[in-house]
Amino acid sequence: MSLVDSSLISLLVRALDLTAQRQQLVAQNIANVDTPGYHTRDIDFRGELQRALWAGQADPAAGGAPFVREVPGLIERPDGNNVSIDRESLLMAGDQLQFQTEAALLRSEFSRLQEAISGGGGQ
């Protein structure tokens, strides 16, 4: 039933997955802020989301796990750690808001479908 797999819903679900994955990486970076030699990790959130937007349902790879990479351009401290507390805090705040928005939008999409299905009533 492609009703529940509309492109909008698929996109929102993908966005939620990516936001959750990003937040997991942020938590990991924060947890390792004092680990010698640890380098900050992240995903290319916009890139992954764009791929999902363009691919629609045709590209199976667009639904796979996002690519994790090290973040360039961060300053390394003497112990080899390059985690920036400020960067991670900002990302964390952003992730929270983002997740909330995506979930709310998805909720309203589902509500709309619900209405359409059961609001049919008579002829």
Partner: protein
């Protein structure tokens, strides 16, 4: 019955009758076929939802939001199927109650 009531002299052979599952023009999928596919799809969604929820409860790494979404999708598609079924039953009853 193979007898054409209007013209008793003409016999309608079984081969002339459209197949029970294909009321439309020849070559199209019948309604019965779409209904079977719809039921299979709803079944898949509900299996997926159940798998995700149990995986969530057991702590084997399923994300909460994925489980919630799977449940909602299964629920919506089931409701849709229910509504379609109701409409079909309604239509049947209307036809069945017609007096010739």
């Amino acid at each position: 019955m193979n007898v054409n009531l209007a013209n008793p002299g003409i016999r309608i052979l079984p081969a002339d009758l459209p197949e029970a599952g294909a009321p439309g023009a020849g070559g199209e999928e019948g309604f019965g076929e779409s209904l079977k596919q719809a039921v299979a799809a709803v079944d898949n969604l509900s299996l997926d939802a159940r798998y995700r929820v149990s995986s969530l409860i057991q702590g084997s790494g399923a994300d909460v939001h994925d489980a919630m979404i799977a449940v909602e999708k299964a629920d919506l598609s089931f409701q849709l199927m229910l509504q379609v079924r109701n409409k079909v039953v309604q239509a049947y009853q209307q036809i069945a109650s017609m007096q010739f």
